[in-house]
Every structure is written in structure tokens, then in C-alpha cells.
Amino acid sequence: MSNGQTRFHVPTPPYRPGDEPDFAHLDLQKAGEALRPDPAASWQETQDLATGLVGVLDHNHQAVGAWNPELSPEVLREGLSHMVLTRIYDERMLKLQRQGKMSFYMKSTGEEAVAVAAAMALKPTDMVFPSYRQQGILFARGRNIVDMMCHCISNSRDNLKGRQLPVHYTWAEGNFFTISGNLGTQFPQAAGYAMACAYKGEDQIAASWIGDGTTAEGDFHAGLTLASTYRAPVIFNVVNNQWAISSNQNIARGDAPTFAAKGLGYGLASIRADGNDFLAVYAATQWAAERARQGKGATLLELFTYRADAHSTSDDPTKYRPKTEFDRWPLGDPIERLKQHLIGKGEWDETRHAKLEEQMTALVVKSYKEAESHGTLHEGPLSPTESIFEDVYAKPDWRLRRQRQDLGV
């Protein structure tokens, strides 16, 4: 019999298609207001940071407060350039997928800062364990665009020999770990990698990224437990873009105040930062990296952002959220905000920006032509068919040798 009080509760998004989104209820901490403890601080000193919001760029696009990383205009322009390239690349690849040039694609529109700024704040030697939506790291680390495209169209120059879906990049030379389709598995792996760095007494650290939805996976708990137990020099990034395909972030978060707050329960330093604020992402990553290198252990960073586009080329977001949500998103667009900041400083202008976009578009178009010259998924040439039997083991055993013969290759 009902006691009249228990009710099965299923969270719903604040807005559905047709609703007028209004994010006033978010009550986000203003840029410049968050205190910046020493990176060697105890995790307890991050409690307000885990529920607040570290921001540097204010409404007027000025850099304010203790978290301002005081980056030079050159570094800021570099960051802007990587983000612009990421977005243009994404647009182009989407178009190519629509033309049937590749099977699948995933954009990172609106989330360029969480990848680019973080990568720039880390050392190039630090190992990154990304999810499928941090392609900005590759641009920030100078990955050859033709090689990225060759992977996405699975041609004869694909460094993964056509074995993986598009956007599942791997680049060992750039310390970019092999991306998996299985969500969350990279968190315990990054912890293990970081433990190995500490074991070897090296300065190297690891960083990993998952989305808000993936925090519900057991591996989120496994990764945080390992990092906490062994004080691993790792940075765990939760990119809270509000959406896991069609599920709102509250399906994974429940009644927890923030995803960052979950880190406190593990005794980890935990910070929520404005994921659309290049300077805030940079500063928070820099803080966490310094903490890790000082042997103070892991940090959980929640990057608060918004997935501006579809989950993937197989998704239509108008079926579950208002079209206008991103326009109303209070934290804006990471590229536009950094651009306005640089313009405000007299270090950038609309003409230069238009020229940058033009250059990047030309680079992407030219790169694709070159990539296509090495083949496409549908027309070939692909990697040699017999290569499907390689790399299963260091050396193929009798089964694989026979099966290759059976296939006649």
C-alpha cells in the first residue's frame, strides 16, 4: 500500500522541443569571483570550487580575477587559431559525411576550448586519454590534418589501417592514446598510466576526458578510486555539455549539485570551470597539472559547456531539445568570446579574423584533396586486405595465418 510519500522520480530536461529556453535558473558564479588556492592545497580547500564556476572572461570579454593565466597575445592568438581550425575542420567533415565520403562523423562544435586550451596548458609530453570529442587536442599538438582525414576516410594512408570508425584517432607520437568506442574505459587507464609515470619517477602526467553521461559508468568510479588511492598524477576532465545523445545531464548527475562535487567524495581536488572560457580552461588545467607534478595527486575538472550540434551524424537533436537552446546558452561560444577578448585588447580585429577563417578553410580544403588522393572508403585504395590479420598479436598464430589463406589474400 502506498504511504503517499514515495514517488518514482525520473529527471527530465528543463526544456523540450517547442519550449522557450531560459537558463536564468542556473545561477552561475560570475567570472573572477572564484578564489584560487595554491595548487598544493588540500582537497577540502576546493569545496567551493567544485560547486562554483571558475571563470576568467567576464561579460565584457575582459580577463578578471585570480584565475587569469596572464597569457601573452601570441598564445591567445594561437589558441584562437586552433579553435577556429577545429570548427572549420568539423564543418567540412560533416559535409563530406553527408556527401557519402565517410561513414560517420562527430563534431565538437561549442566545445573547442575544453580540448584546445587544456592541450596548450599541458606539456606535449603529457599523455592524453581523450573521448571521441576532443579533436581540438590534435590541432593544438600539431597533428597533420591530412593524416587525420586519411583516418576518417579509412584510406590507404589511414594510420589505423581502416580498422576503426572515423574520429577514433590514435597518435602515439603526439602522446594521444587510442580512442575507444567503449565509454569511460579511459579513466582507469589514465590512472594506471599516471601511476606508471609516478612509479618511474617521471615528470610526465596523464589527462583524460569523458562526457557528463559517461560519469554514470562504473569506470568513472574505478578511475577516481584508483587516482585517490594511489595519488596518481592525472587530470580527470568531465566535459559537461548538458547532453548524452538525447539524455539530459541530470540523468547522470541526479541530485548531485555538480559533477565536480562528486570528486570531493573521493578526496580529490575538484573544480568546475567555464568550459567556453578559453582562459578558465587553460588556468584550471594548469593548476591541476601543477598539482599533479608536485605529487599532490589527481584533480577532477568539470568543464561546463554546451553541445552545440548533434551528437553525431546519426543524430537529430531537434527531436529532443529546442533548436534555440545554444543561442540562449549563458556561456556563449568559446571562439567568439576569445575573439572578442583579443579584439578588446587591441590584439585582433574582424579583418584578421576573417582572414584566419579564410586561411583555415583553404587549408582544410587543400588537405582533403591531398587526403583523397590516397583513396576513399568507397572507392579505395584502402590498406591491404591482408593487414586485417596483423596486430591482433605481436605475431599472427596458425589460426590467423590459415584464415588469411582462406580469404585468399
Binding site: R163, T170, F177, F187, G192, A196, G218, A222
Partner: protein
């Protein structure tokens, strides 16, 4: 050479590996200070230090996931899952990650490591301390699966496993940790000291992965077994007087097809044995392969001697387990067919 039981041989293998290579690390639940619930890692922490042999949180996915991360950095992890019945929380990390890192990265990253786990029944372990989950792993490209049956092989195979550079699921038949078992319920424990394979060299040596061994030559039929059942099969041959040729498979993936075919082509009659439930078990793979390979030599249907398609029972353990008597009946069936 000193006499060792399987636990001591495994301990010795890890000692040798830790001694030779600073990249080797050993860990698992209770594997550090306490030396493991079966004592396989006894005294290793004391000898090599807290950072080389250590305790882990009770989280099998974490154990497997950190192994993958450590291997990517160049360490050579030997991870322990306390019972193979508890390996399932690590399945995603093992199947989706560990097994595929080399393949999906086209060789840019590797995940060479060993996941050790006590395995099999015959110890009144009930449902969650008796399982033989090898078929879950033999079905996964990229993994090697090993089941030793004696102290000499346990040490040599464990050393080979870690040195292979590819991930190995290493199942340890806990029924025979302390002595061979003849498959007669409640039989008194025999010592490894009286067994030829109980003699174990102190230092480094290897037993080749992928190689089976004919442990009893015979003409009447071929029996293929691994782990505890190798000994049960031998006892059954002696007790029944059936001149069976008995193969200890040792490595399930990649299994030694040549040794199997040679024997079956000679005898024409086969029993494939496993403790695990029958349907889709590893014996099914062996039976199918033998049928393809040796069809014209076969003089009787291939007999699968297995556990039943039920969860491993407690009170009726000996109705489930392929005992010496069931083995003898199976051998009689194929030889008289």
C-alpha cells in the same frame, strides 16, 4: 631441483620476473602485504617493496584498466583477480580494451600483461568459487588463454606469458594448487613432491605458449584436457585399463592443433574434456576443429565430457564435476563405438 607446489612455482615465477625487470609490477586484492588469499604473492612485497607488489581496491575493472594504462607506459603488470568467478566486472576492460589496444592502434600502443586468476572447481566452492570461464576469453581475438596443470608448467608458462608482450589470461586450477587430483571425490591430498612436474628450477626458464604435451601415450583414444582434468584423465586411464593417449593442452589460445591432429589421426577416437558447462564451451571449439581437421580418421563421434549446463552446484558438486568414473565411461563409450 626443489619440489614446489603450484603456488610456490607461481610465486617463484613472479620472483624471477620481478628480479630481472624493474618494469614488472604485481598487484591485486590482498596481493601485497598479506601475500594473496592463496599465498601466491607471499613475501614478494617484503622483498621488492610497496611500489612493486601492492594491494588494490576491490574493483576488478580498475585492476584491468590500470593494467592497460600501465602497459601503455611500458610497465609489465601481473594482475591478480582473486577468483575467476569475479573476473566479470573486468570484462569490458579485458574484451573491449586490453585485447584490442594493439589492433585498434595499429601497433602504436600495446597492452602486454598477465591477468592471473584461480580457476575451476572440485573444492566445494559453490557457484562463485568454482567457475571455469575460459570460453568467455577464448572467444576474444587478441587474448591468449593459458591453463597450467602442474608446478613446472605453471612457472614456465607464467614467465612466457608475461614475456610474450601480448595480454594473457592465466587461469590457475586451484584444486591442484597443493597436489594433483585423481577425480575421486574426497580422495586424500597427494603431494606434488612425488610428481615429476613437481620438480621446479629456481631460476628463469620458459614453457612455450601454444604447445601442448602428450602426457600419456596410448592407442585406444585421444583425451584432450587442461588444468585439473589432465590428472583426472590419467587416473581414469589407469583405473579403467583403457590405453588412452592424453594431451595436456596448456594453452587454449592459440591451441596446439598439430599435436591434437597427430594424436587423433593415430587413435581415431576422441574425448574432449572441460569442467565448464557444455554449451558453447571450449570443448565445442576443439570438437569442431578436430572434425574439420581429422574427419576421415574419426571412427567414433567426438565425445564432449563437460560440466552440465547449470550454475556450479555446492552440495551436488560431484554430480557436476567430470570425475574419474565419468572419464572412464567416456573413454569406454568412444573406444567401443
Amino acid at each position: 631441483m626443489p619440489a614446489m607446489n603450484i603456488i610456490q612455482a607461481l610465486n617463484s615465477a613472479m620472483d624471477v620476473l620481478l628480479e630481472r625487470d624493474p618494469d614488472v609490477v604485481v598487484f591485486g586484492e590482498d596481493a601485497g602485504y598479506f601475500g594473496g588469499v592463496f599465498k601466491a604473492t607471499d613475501k614478494l612485497q617484503e622483498k621488492y617493496g610497496l611500489d612493486r607488489v601492492f594491494d588494490t581496491p576491490i574493483n576488478e575493472a580498475a585492476i584491468a584498466g590500470m593494467s592497460v594504462g600501465m602497459a601503455a607506459k611500458g610497465l609489465k603488470p601481473i594482475a591478480e583477480i582473486q577468483f575467476s568467478d569475479y573476473i566479470f566486472p573486468a570484462i569490458d576492460q579485458i574484451v573491449s580494451e586490453m585485447s584490442r589496444i594493439r589492433y585498434r592502434s595499429a601497433g602504436q600502443f600495446t597492452s602486454g600483461c598477465v591477468v592471473r586468476s584461480p580457476w575451476g572447481g572440485g573444492i566445494r566452492g559453490g557457484q562463485t568459487h568454482s567457475m571455469s570461464p575460459e570460453a568467455f576469453f577464448t572467444h576474444v581475438p587478441g587474448l591468449q588463454v593459458v591453463v597450467p596443470s602442474n608446478p613446472y608448467d605453471a612457472k614456465g608458462l607464467l614467465i612466457s606469458a608475461l614475456e610474450s608482450g601480448d595480454p594473457v589470461i592465466f587461469f590457475e586450477p586451484k584444486r591442484i594448487y597443493n597436489g594433483p587430483f585423481d577425480g575421486v571425490p574426497d580422495t586424500p591430498l597427494k603431494s606434488w613432491a612425488k610428481h615429476a612436474k613437481g620438480e621446479v628450477p629456481e631460476g628463469h626458464y620458459t614453457v612455450e605458449l601454444g604447445k601442448a604435451e602428450v602426457v600419456r601415450e596410448g592407442e585406444a583414444c585421444t583425451v584432450i584436457a587442461y588444468g585439473t582434468l589432465v590428472h583426472v584423465a590419467q587416473a581414469a586411464a589407469e583405473a579403467s585399463g583403457i590405453d588412452a593417449e592424453i594431451i595436456d593442452l596448456k594453452t587454449l589460445v592459440p591451441y596446439d592443433v598439430e599435436t591434437i591432429a597427430k594424436s587423433v589421426n593415430k587413435t581415431g577416437r576422441v574425448v574432449v574434456a572441460q569442467e565448464a558447462p557444455r554449451t558453447s564451451g571450449f570443448a565445442a571449439e576443439l570438437a569442431a576443429q578436430i572434425q574439420e581437421e581429422c574427419f576421415y580418421a574419426l571412427e567414433a563421434p567426438i565425445f564432449r565430457l563437460t560440466g552440465w549446463d547449470i550454475p556450479y552446484p555446492h552440495a551436488h558438486e560431484w554430480a557436476y564435476f567430470p570425475t574419474r568414473d565419468r572419464f572412464a565411461r567416456a573413454m569406454k563409450t568412444v573406444t567401443e563405438a
